[in-house]
């Protein structure tokens, strides 16, 4: 592929304005192009950041990425990017890139060789296994692991070490969506795809600042509205964001009362008989579970739901109390608006989609609130059809592909299987060629509990890969201190120094993105492959090499004895693919991914299934059934409508801590900023985290824009600049702080309460005091 003339001219113009530092991408390109007479090779890759999975073309020269551009052939983004994606070429070349293994000696780190580092890890792990058992070994993984990496890590921990304490940061991100999809439909991940953004006409956003956090998808939804004036976007949120500004209706509710609001909508649909009776009869059952289920704030918290099947009449009785009037009292949303929204959802002429992200998932009743939205779609039969259905957006590039599909959670195995099920362990044992009994049947520590266990000493060895939990975990100060306690050994594999390498005992310099071959799976079930294109700097090595080398040193090399007649990554994928075949989550042959701009699963008879559970598109649906939730095997292939009540948050504001604290993201930075903050242009655009206040609250406190304020919770305190009347306006009584800034550790303040079912922490709600400094 050659650079096109337009890029070249653009680059050449920019080159004229070159300065020695901070080359913009197109100037870098121009410089390279001029020097080498266009000797750049281009290849495809998915973007490194969010779960949208935009396609980019990566330009490489002499083993270095010199440019990136949106891939016009990629169906997700058709050549566009957000501003983070535009600067992808720079994320690998921050000045402080790690290049050598570093071992802690007191307060300093010393360079050591890879052999020494790998020997040390193997020795530390073996020591811990001998003294405390394999359950004292933990691996903290990521939705940024490639599919290969997650697969190797999972096999290493579950079939090799014999510990299920492997959990990804995806637990912090979409575990609630997983739990709810599994319970309601018997299979994880949405039924629709991004074409729904073009094909629907009514979009409900729940706790999703899509304009900033899924910018390209929001651009698509907006284009649909530009073309079709009938399209409506409704934003349910607790904070007025850039998405609210673009929406046709902004419906603000008090934190946590989305539970009441969703039930209120279902109430009106049931009360006015707006539901689709035929669909309900053919495709659903009704269920409920325990109430008063707790918040998981105490160590070793455990919860087991007690589910029971009910009937439609019982459900009707249970939902009766959520009258629009009661919903108004709880949520602050006018009863009239509840009625209107219910009618909009149920209008037979409207094609309705719901999208959500962290507002729903990071929620002490995250599983419930996810299910409550499925309820609305199931009651109205608006599901699994072009332009209609519930869709959980993801925040990491392979939250779906790796964390959810490979199953790198403490309780999961690949392809919707779980360690607790002996049949599933048998299948895994067969493919992994190990005794199924060697895979522990008890789930390991989930992410938050794993960090607590590290503090307590129940985890003594922790290996962190491709993420930054010691900035991103809730109530993180406890875990940072825990990591440094005597008798703990923490290994961190990363490309850069982070808040996590800061507390490590051993740091491994790690190849990132196109410095290795990999595959990511995005939110619409699209699996995307890229080749290794660039060289990792210094002695950096890819994560899966690190794991396999340690495994060999621990006598577990057999696990990774892949067929030698194929390249390693292909062999790993082909083994993994066996888990998916015939399950309805079937992946395509490796060669297909090499060629295509991603392929949506299930891939059956050489074709992708764009809408699962729909006979017209999905060959797994029994003939004549129209819609069939065939993965819900326990209940005769029917999805479950769950009654779930409103219950209050874990730590509501009180006299001492009178505000709600909510955390989140901005468009310019991604997660903890370890990549985006190293891009000078993005750092300049948003150099630090500020605290958004509601203008009325600010006025009462006599706080003006950019005044210094102090936030204090029961766990910690932080000084920030106030932002009043700028990009986001939290509801009255709430404040909002983004979490990207390593110099403003907002997670020292957040609470590690979580959804008892999904174990996903609630980063959106704890009580905070706000003072002017």
């Amino acid at each position: 592929m050659d650079i096109r003339r337009r890029e070249f001219i653009k680059g050449a113009a920019a080159a004229a304005a070159l300065t020695a530092v901070g080359l913009p991408v197109n100037a870098m390109l121009a410089q390279q192009a001029e020097a080498a007479n266009m000797g750049i090779t281009w290849d495809k890759a998915p973007c490194r950041f969010c779960g949208t999975g935009c396609g980019v073309l990566v330009g490489v020269k002499n083993g270095k990425v010199v440019a990136t551009k949106g891939d016009a052939e990629a169906p997700v983004n058709k050549g566009l990017n957000c501003i983070k994606g535009y600067f992808l070429a720079k994320i690998m070349y921050g000045e402080d890139r790690l290049t050598k293994p570093l071992l802690r000696k007191g307060d300093k780190f010393e360079e050591i060789s890879w052999d020494e580092a790998l020997d040390k890890i193997a020795a530390e792990m073996q020591k811990v296994i001998k003294e405390s058992g394999p359950q004292a070994i933990g691996m903290f993984g990521s939705g940024q692991w490639t599919i290969h990496e997650g697969y190797v890590a999972s096999k290493f921990m579950k079939a090799g070490v014999g510990s299920n304490s492997i959990d990804p940061n995806a637990r912090f991100c979409m575990a609630s969506a997983v739990a709810a999809f599994m319970k309601t439909f018997g299979s994880d991940e949405p039924m629709g795809n991004y074409d729904d953004l073009d094909l629907g006409d009514t979009y409900f956003l729940w706790g999703a600042n899509m304009s900033e956090c899924h910018p390209i998808l929001f651009s698509r939804m907006t284009a649909n509205r530009v073309k079709n004036p009938n399209v409506k976007i409704i934003d349910f949120a607790t904070r007025y964001s850039r998405t609210s500004k673009e929406a046709d209706h902004y419906v603000e509710f008090k934190p946590q009362t989305d539970l009441a609001l969703a039930n209120g909508i279902a109430h009106v649909i049931v009360r006015d008989k707006l539901y689709n009776e035929d669909f309900i009869k053919a495709n659903t059952i009704f269920k409920t579970g325990k109430t008063n289920i707790g918040y998981g704030v105490e160590d070793n918290f455990s919860f087991t739901d007690k589910e029971e099947v009910i009937d439609f009449d019982t459900y009707k009785k249970m939902i009766k109390e959520y009258t629009p009037k009661k919903v108004e009292e709880l949520s602050g949303v006018p009863a009239k608006a509840v009625e209107e929204m219910a009618k909009l959802y149920a209008d037979p002429k409207r094609k309705v989609c719901s999208y959500w992200t962290m507002g729903f998932n990071q929620h002490v009743r995250g599983t419930w609130v996810n299910q409550l939205v499925y309820n609305i779609h199931l009651l109205t039969g608006k599901i699994a059809q072009p332009g209609q259905g519930p869709f959980s957006l993801t925040g990491q590039p392979s939250a779906c592909g790796t964390a959810r599909e490979v199953g790198t959670f403490a309780h999961r195995l690949p392809s919707d299987m779980v360690v607790m099920n002996p049949e599933h362990r048998k299948i895994a044992g067969k493919i992994w060629n190990v005794d199924p009994e060697s895979i522990p049947a008890k789930p390991g520590f989930h992410a938050t509990e794993m960090l607590r266990a590290l503090d307590r000493g129940d985890i003594k060895f922790l290996w962190v890969q491709v993420n930054n939990p010691f900035q991103a975990a809730p109530n993180v100060d406890r875990f940072r201190k825990g990591a440094r306690k005597k008798g703990r050994f923490v290994v961190v594999s990363d490309a850069y120094p982070t808040r996590s390498t800061e507390v490590a005992d051993l740091i491994l310099p790690t190849a990132m993105w196109v410095e290795k071959e990999g595959m990511f799976g995005n939110a619409e079930r699209r699996t995307q492959h890229w080749n290794k294109m660039a060289d990792a700097p210094g002695e950096s090595k890819e994560d899966l090499w690190q794991i396999i080398e340690v495994a060999k040193r621990m006598g577990m090399g057999k696990l990774f004895d892949f067929p030698k007649d194929k390249p390693l990554h292909q062999a790993i994928f082909e083994e993994y693919r066996q888990f998916t075949l015939g399950t309805g989550k079937d992946l395509a042959p490796y060669e297909v991914y090499k060629k295509e701009r991603g392929v949506i699963w299930p891939y059956i008879n050489g074709k992708s299934v764009p809408w699962r559970y729909n006979e017209k598109y999905d060959p797994l649906v029994a003939k004549g059934s129209g819609i069939q939730f065939y993965k819900a095997k326990k209940y005769d292939k029917k999805a479950a409508i769950y009654f779930r009540p409103y219950e209050p948050a874990a730590e509501p504001p009180d006299a001492s801590y009178p505000f709600w604290l909510c955390t989140g993201r901005v468009l310019e930075h991604w997660h903890t900023g370890t990549m985006t903050a190293r891009v000078p242009e993005l750092h300049r655009a948003v150099p630090e985290a500020v605290c958004e206040l509601n203008p009325e609250d600010a006025k009462k406190m006599k706080v003006k824009n950019r005044d210094k304020i102090r936030l204090t919770t029961r766990r910690g305190s932080l000084e920030l600049l106030a932002s009043v009347g700028e990009r986001g306006i939290p509801g009255k009584g709430s404040v909002f702080v983004p979490f990207f800034d390593e110099n403003k550790m907002i997670n020292n303040l957040t609470l590690d309460a979580f959804c008892p079912i999904s174990k996903e922490p609630d980063y959106k709600k704890c009580a905070v005091k706000v003072e002017k400094v």
């Binding site: 949106g70 566009l80 284009a223 003006k704």
Partner: protein, 213 residues
């Protein structure tokens, strides 16, 4: 550890050049990137330029009290402005301090003491000076200037229209409304391009037109 490696072009002369060299530098006026074609962006509340040059005592108090070091004293290369306060947004814009310390510090009325609300200042107005370079207009989801704007949704709004190139995405074009723009230059500083596509320029009064009535 933080990637604080944003390097900006530095002026090469130290501040505090003594002597009244008014006019001496006029022939070597430097067109600094982003400073708007050689005109001087003055601190908040600055009176009209002719008047300003008469009233400003060149005392440097406004620069001294600026908490962001955004207000700098003009140098030889700035020609007529020598010794007078200027803001170069690309180096450091005006963050519109709520208590306007620069205005309070001005002893001569060159910065109008009647200005109490920083959002009412009109130092200049932002202009998308290079539409063909603007990444948002090209269809990327950038709009960094818009979200950085302290008068967001008034001074800068975003207008949507169809991206005909892809046929299924929208363009989010930032549009400046000079009625509400303070001229603070935060957008100019934030623009991710090497040469910003949005810059602060002199504020001209609105043109009267029969068409508008």
């Amino acid at each position: 550890m933080s990637a604080n490696n944003v390097k900006q072009p530095q002026k090469n002369l130290p501040t505090g050049v003594k002597g009244a060299l008014v006019g001496a530098g006029a022939s070597c006026l430097v067109l600094k990137a982003g400073s708007g074609y050689g005109w001087m962006l003055r601190p908040p509340g600055a009176v009209a330029e002719d008047d300003f040059l008469k009233k400003c005592l060149r005392c440097g108090r406004c620069a001294h009290v600026c908490p962001y070091d955004a207000v700098k004293m003009g140098k030889l290369s700035d020609g007529l402005a020598i010794g007078t306060p200027v803001i170069v947004p690309r180096e450091m814009p005006c963050y519109l301090c709520s208590d306007l310390p620069c205005v309070k510090a001005c002893p001569s009325g060159a910065l109008d003491p009647e200005l109490k609300d920083p959002l009412k200042t009109r130092m200049g107005t932002a202009v998308i000076s290079e539409r063909e370079e603007c990444l948002s207009i090209k269809g990327l989801r950038c709009e960094v200037c818009y979200r950085a704007c302290p008068v967001i949704d008034k001074a800068i709004t975003v207008e949507n229209y169809l991206n005909v190139k892809t046929g299924r995405h929208a363009i989010f074009e930032p549009v400046v409304h000079k009625k509400d723009c303070t001229g603070c230059g935060i957008c100019e500083k934030a623009c991710v391009l090497e040469r910003p596509a949005i810059v602060v320029q002199p504020l001209q009064p609105p043109t009267e037109s029969w068409y508008e009535s």
